[in-house]
């Protein structure tokens, strides 16, 4: 079993990814983003993305109801169904689901973060949270009947409300629920780069034991990414490949270990 995470950037080669996957015999589940599409849609609907910075300095996207509407249009709507369409054109019997559908991904809503507003410290709650459980029965029901699940946000919280969540956390949860040996993450870069601005500094191999050390060296988004990677291995992933989603054969190259291999 493999999990294929398709990044939400505009330069990701969806056509090439799905064409490669049609040649794969191993069963797989796709998790995809659509952040570039969501940002453009929010812009043209003049609902620009709101970010908040907590008193302890972490900045995060504010997922209010309006942001969730845009997310449902971009992630669970346009991007999900265009991937499903592409899959069927390549003989992959895809079924697109958000985390809400059949409660396939349930989570816990964030308790709220402490933010400063006009000089006062306040608790700010939005509609975001952490994924906690997977409806593996539904996924297996589909997989065993020849369907390929194509998953995306939003997920569903403890009060059955749609909430936003990090795709990396969803991938980690799915990896352990489905005991996937391989996780391929297709991004808009050749893989992990020592120096993000210099593609030639690609790190081709990282031993999973090194992840803890590397996590200390980085900040912000990259720190979160490495933490999510560590979780993947804590839960039994054998191999994670971070590869370039923009090339002609993203999945084939990834399976040939072109990119950053972590094991």
């Amino acid at each position: 079993m493999m999990i294929i995470k398709i990044g939400g950037g505009d330069s990701v080669n969806l056509q090439g990814i799905i064409a490669d996957l049609s040649g794969v015999s191993e069963p797989f589940v796709i998790v995809h983003g659509a952040n570039a599409l969501r940002d453009r849609l929010a812009e043209s609907l003049n609902m620009p993305k709101k970010t908040v910075t907590s008193v302890s300095g972490y900045s995060s996207v504010l997922s209010d109801q309006e942001a969730l509407d845009v997310m449902m249009m971009a992630y669970s709507g346009l991007r999900n169904k265009r991937i499903v369409e592409l899959c069927h054109q390549h003989g992959i019997n895809a079924v697109g689901l958000s985390g809400l559908d059949g409660k396939v991904i349930q989570g816990q809503r964030n308790k709220g973060i402490r933010v400063k507003q006009n000089g006062k410290v306040k608790i700010l709650r939005d509609f975001s949270g952490k994924p906690k459980t997977v409806n593996s029965r539904l996924l297996e029901l589909l997989l065993n009947n020849g369907y390929t699940p194509i998953l995306t946000v939003p997920i569903i919280d403890e009060n059955n409300r749609a909430i936003n969540s990090e795709n990396d956390d969803i991938v980690a949860l799915l990896q352990s629920a489905l005991q996937a040996e391989i996780v391929i993450q297709l991004i808009e870069a050749p893989g992990f780069l020592e120096n993000p601005r210099d593609p030639s500094t690609l790190i081709s191999k990282i031993r999973k034991e090194e992840l803890a050390r590397r996590e200390e060296q980085v900040e912000g988004r990259m720190k979160r990414k490495i933490l999510a990677l560590r979780k993947l291995f804590d839960r039994g992933a054998a191999k994670v490949i971070i590869a370039d989603g923009r090339v002609e054969h993203p999945v084939r190259d990834a399976l040939n270990e072109k990119g950053t291999v972590i094991l």
């Binding site: 995060s60 997922s63 308790k111 410290v121 306040k122 608790i123 939005d126 975001s128």
Partner: protein, 57 residues
């Protein structure tokens, strides 16, 4: 004029500034618990959720 409110943790009664806002974080002067203003009319407070690193997207 200021209003009084009772701390749900130690039952101490303390004064709250008039311009207090919804979801504002207060600290009980007696037991030091962090309290959140959960209602304005009538004024109500509850224990604030613990600190949580909300690493949203």
């Amino acid at each position: 004029m200021n209003q009084n409110v009772t701390c749900p943790v130690c039952d101490a009664v303390f004064e709250v500034a008039e311009n207090v806002e919804l979801n504002e974080l207060l600290t009980c002067p007696d037991c030091g618990s962090e309290l959140e203003v959960v209602n304005l009319k009538p004024l109500e407070v509850a224990e604030a959720p613990q600190e949580e690193e909300d690493w949203g997207e």
